[in-house]
């Protein structure tokens, strides 16, 4: 067996120590060959003996938090087959042969292509400006009582910039804690894409509501947004931008999305209806559209009255 590698897990990038033949001392004291500053590691915690015949022997030196190999505490342990998992205090390490295969190289965000959205910084700025534009148009479309530029600016600063800024900052801090990196530009790009997607799907759902004279498209969007789209967006970010493993990305996406999704879902009319299935308000289809695209046939007054006779009575609440 050639030289060994001790892979030491950390919150950021792992640390790799090449072990020469002979004795390697691991512990918190400064006279060790490999120093682990974790307080749960003993000053002299472990000796790794790499014998000339390539056999490996681990000797525990710690009285407190003794070394564990494959989850079992040891005094002295001969190692037959690599890799082997070692717990030194709470530090996780792995003893590997030098020729141990590594995972395939992940491409940079945007595959390194110069025009990719996650590549150059100007895309993040362009997308941020697009968000402001979309939000401004939405404000303008709803400013039917009166329109003032100062109100638009206030809206963009108070609503849009703050919302996007808060998400970018919050998620960037989370990312820093998770993978020990700041990726503000990619985060801004991602948040802006999600924001634009939200605006677009909202518009689509409104038009589908009118087209079908139904409430379910916007209801579906509401639930789909919080239960599917937000977790998927976070998952894709963690997988492709942060390069976390797939399973960990799924778990983290669900964890990160849940504080956003749960309150929104609990406050949704559909969820409220589960808790209280009675309403004094008539939930009729009040949407109006200038395009007036709808699938319902136009009926005469007589046909309408005839069809209305078949209307079922209202359902009593529990």
């Amino acid at each position: 067996m050639d030289a060994l590698i001790l892979e030491i897990s950390t919150r950021g990038l792992h640390r790799y120590e090449a072990l020469a033949r002979g004795v390697t001392r691991v512990g918190r004291a400064l006279d060790n060959d490999i120093i682990l500053s974790d307080p749960t590691v003993a000053p002299h915690h472990l000796q790794i003996l790499h014998h000339p015949d390539d056999s490996i022997e681990l000797i525990n030196l710690a009285e407190v938090n003794p070394t564990r190999v494959d989850a079992m505490p040891i005094d002295t342990q001969h190692i037959g087959k690599l890799p082997v998992n070692i717990e030194i205090g709470r530090v996780h390490a792995q003893l590997l042969p030098r020729d141990y295969p590594v995972a395939a190289t992940r491409s940079l965000a945007g595959n390194g292509k110069p025009n990719h959205l996650f590549g150059p910084a100007y895309w993040a700025l362009v997308l941020a400006l697009l968000c402001l534009l979309a939000s401004g148009l939405d404000f303008y479309a709803n400013a039917y009582s009166s329109f003032k530029w100062i109100e638009l600016v206030k809206h963009l600063l108070r609503e849009t910039t703050l919302t996007i800024g808060a998400f970018v900052l919050g998620l960037s801090i989370l990312e820093r804690l998770l993978v020990n990196r700041w990726e503000i530009q990619q985060m801004l790009t991602s948040v802006c894409l999600v924001y634009l997607l939200f605006m677009g799907t909202n518009l689509l759902a409104d038009n589908l509501d009118y087209l079908l004279s139904a409430h379910w498209p916007s209801g579906l969007l509401y639930f789909g947004w919080y239960l599917v789209l937000i977790p998927v967006a976070i998952f894709l970010y963690l997988l492709h931008i942060s390069h976390l493993p797939r399973e960990r990305s799924i778990l983290l996406a669900l964890l990160i999305a849940s504080p956003i999704a749960l309150p929104a879902l609990l406050q949704s009319p559909q969820m409220q209806a589960l808790f209280d299935n009675f309403s004094n308000a008539a939930s009729y289809h009040n949407q109006l559209s200038y395009t007036n695209w709808h699938l319902h046939d136009e009926v005469s007054i007589a046909e309408f009255i005839e069809q209305a006779k078949a209307m079922q009575p209202g359902k009593p609440a529990d």
Binding site: Y144, S279, Y284, H285, L288, S289, H296, I301
Partner: protein, 420 residues
């Protein structure tokens, strides 16, 4: 035949009984203080008053007339409440329900023994004549309120007399006398200071005539009886409204049904035109006044409301205009009965052609859970296809048979005319 005989005998009795000179309030009070009672609804468990009103001796001397709303709790929960009377001399006794006229808010009660001499009833005196309302205001004792006859109100479907005196809680169900000492009506409601309402005595005469000799027995489903009476009244009312020639009113590019019944009053609710506002709106709201008291939760039914709402703009673009238009498309029935009283609404949508224009129309219905066949109906229709103008029609009818309300919608839409 019986009705004619009763009417003739009442008029004769009134003519012979009428003193030669007009009585003043003191004399009317003294003449009737033994014939006007406090009517109490008591809780069987606590023995305490739950509601109070007044009543007076009618018919065979064993009957008391009062308002339906005074004793409606007994109909809601007969196992918990019962009715008693207390006379000015302190005499007390239990009363049973003998007859109801829910539409006119009247109830006929029967005592176990004769209570005294029945009060004579008479037609309404001329407008402006003095009239005197007796009753037990606020549980303080017998009192008399003096006012004048304001005449029968046609907006209440002739079911109310306007009284310029002051009625107070507890006086409901008491008699209102003319200056001969005959009862011309029954105290029923107040609007504000010195604006009060009296039920004309002819409805009470009809009730006395129709009521059988015995009180309702326990086998009668009183809520079903209330529903039957309300629905019969509302169906008759809608038929009358449909039979009328509806005058039209003009609102911008539409000719619309105007005051469709004498019971209806219309008001302009248009917003003031302001330089800040980028659109103009014109709103007309019409409603009837002949509401029917339903139950102790203070539910009134029999409301007929229709509203027109025109919207136009010179400055908004179509997207802005339709955002505004949609935000205003939110009419609801403003009464909020609880889940125990009504069902949820069931709504459906149609695109209906009305006078060559298309309206997105929604029809909703909800049912009264304890009153079989009784529904609330909400109809809204919004004009589609115009970039700079919008128009809503809203029609609301409460406490109606749903099917009988549909011809009303039909006539509304057929009477709506678009002027290009």
């Amino acid at each position: 035949m019986r009705a004619s005989l009763l009417a003739i005998s009442l008029v004769l009795a009134w003519a012979f009984a009428a003193p030669a000179s007009a009585l003043d309030s003191r004399e009317i009070y003294q003449l009737n203080e033994d014939r006007v009672f406090q009517v109490r609804v008591l809780n069987r468990e606590t023995g305490k008053k739950s509601s109070i009103g007044s009543g007076f001796i009618v018919g065979d001397g064993q009957q008391l007339a009062t308002n339906y709303h005074v004793i409606s709790q007994v109909i809601q929960e007969p196992e918990l409440f019962y009715i008693t009377f207390v006379g000015s001399d302190g005499s007390e006794g239990e009363l049973s329900l003998q007859g109801l006229d829910v539409a006119h808010d009247l109830a006929l009660l029967r005592a176990e023994q004769a209570l005294g001499e029945a009060i004579i009833m008479s037609p309404l005196p001329p407008g402006g004549a003095p009239i005197f309302a007796m009753g037990n205001p606020l549980d303080l004792g017998l009192s008399i309120a003096v006012g004048t006859n304001g005449g029968i109100l046609n907006q209440t479907d002739d079911s109310r007399i306007l009284f310029s005196g002051s009625l107070n809680p507890g006086m409901s169900g008491g008699p209102t006398f003319d200056d001969s000492g005959a009862a011309i009506g029954i105290n029923v409601a107040t609007a504000r200071n010195d604006i009060s309402f009296i039920v004309p005595s002819r409805f009470l005469s009809d009730l006395i005539e129709q009521a059988s000799g015995e009180a309702y027995d326990d086998s009668v489903d009183m809520k079903a009886e209330v529903a039957r009476q309300v629905l019969a009244y509302e169906s008759r009312y809608i038929e009358q409204v449909l039979a009328e020639d509806w005058p039209s009113l003009e609102l911008r590019q539409f000719k619309l049904p105007g005051v469709i019944s004498p019971t209806v009053r219309c008001w302009d609710n248009s917003s003031k035109l302001s330089t800040l506002v980028q659109y103009k709106r014109y709103q007309i709201r019409c409603s009837n006044q002949n509401h029917v008291y339903l139950d102790a939760d203070n539910q009134f039914v029999g409301r007929l409301i229709y509203e027109y709402y025109w919207l136009e703009t010179d400055t908004l673009n179509p997207i802005q205009f339709y955002n505004l238009y949609e935000s205003l498309n939110k009419d609801q029935i403003d009464t909020k009965p609880g889940r125990d009283i009504v069902t949820n609404f069931n709504c459906d949508t149609w695109f209906v052609e009305v006078s060559s224009q298309q309206f997105k129309s929604n029809l909703c219905r909800r049912e009264y859970r304890d009153y079989p066949g009784m529904s609330d109906m909400l109809f809204t229709a919004a004009l589609t296809g115009h970039a700079d103008k919008g128009f809503f029609i809203t029609l609301i009818a409460t406490g109606v048979d749903f099917d009988s309300s549909l011809p009303l919608i039909r006539k509304f839409l057929e009477s709506t005319q678009w002027t290009p």
